[in-house]
């Protein structure tokens, strides 16, 4: 567990929380080198705050993707007007 009063400057498993935070997106996207992943995993194992936060951000993104990935359909009239405006353009 990181020292509570050092906040984001806490160093756990040799890495500052702020640096883990900076790499969080790249970590979640799987874009980091194997070495960096190992280092961050070691930090997350011992740092509750970063581990919990990383889990929360990952869960938020998963919710975003699963709820909103499929775009809402256009209303039929909206589609028809889009098509009509294109037809006018294409005819001209």
């Amino acid at each position: 567990m990181a020292a509570a009063d050092a906040g984001l400057d806490s160093i756990v498993a040799g890495v500052r929380c702020r640096d883990v935070l900076a790499d969080l997106s790249e970590f979640l996207d799987g874009n980091l080198s194997d070495d960096r992943v190992t280092t961050i995993r070691a930090h997350l194992t011992d740092c509750d705050r970063c581990a919990r936060f990383g889990g929360d951000v990952a869960a938020t993104l998963a919710s975003l993707r699963s709820n909103l990935r499929v775009p809402p359909a256009l209303a039929q009239e909206q589609s028809a007007r889009l098509r009509a405006s294109l037809r006018r353009e294409q005819a001209g």
Binding site: L8, F53, D56, V57, S63, L64, S66, L74, L82, E89
Partner: protein, 208 residues
Amino acid sequence: MPGEARVVSDARAVPDDDAGLLRRSASGDTAAFDIIVDAHSTSVSRFLTSLGVNDLEDALQETFIAAWQSAASFRGTGSVRSWLLSIARNVHRHSLRRRVDEPMEFVSLDALAERAGWGCDPAETRRADIAIARDELEHALAKLPVDEREILVLRELEELSGEETAQLLHLTVPAMKSRLHRARLHLAAVLRQADLPHTSTGSTHGRR
């Protein structure tokens, strides 16, 4: 099985990829362009919505008319969808430049992380095991600055690659990543702030 894909002879059903359809559109093939419109109008509409356009229908029509007019200029360096989204973005930027340029409050990444719950009491941490409702996410997205909203739509929802997104937004890949990271933290922060009145006021009433 060979030939199976060509059983249907209707022009609308001939197998073709987007780039091929766009090439046909550039030669005046309106049926090919209709397929493009059908396939991508919902994505373009959502993207325009995320940018905060005033008149969605007008912007949608303008985007597809511009795409029809400039079909021959498609170079095939990215997907047709990202090309369409790029046109939509230009349409929006022309009509809403004042709004895009309006100053936003700058919040440091540290502050965003703390607002999003880093280091907070676990009892006040957002329920990671409970899915966030669709309307809650939509409201949170709507509260983000437009540049953060658009990058979340492009990367998380449209699933454009990092390179395509960077190209569309006229950013370097590292700058795109940096904006995406900020946008993700900001989204988490807005969601948590929306949740806080319930968690803090209800902390003594059964919140575990």
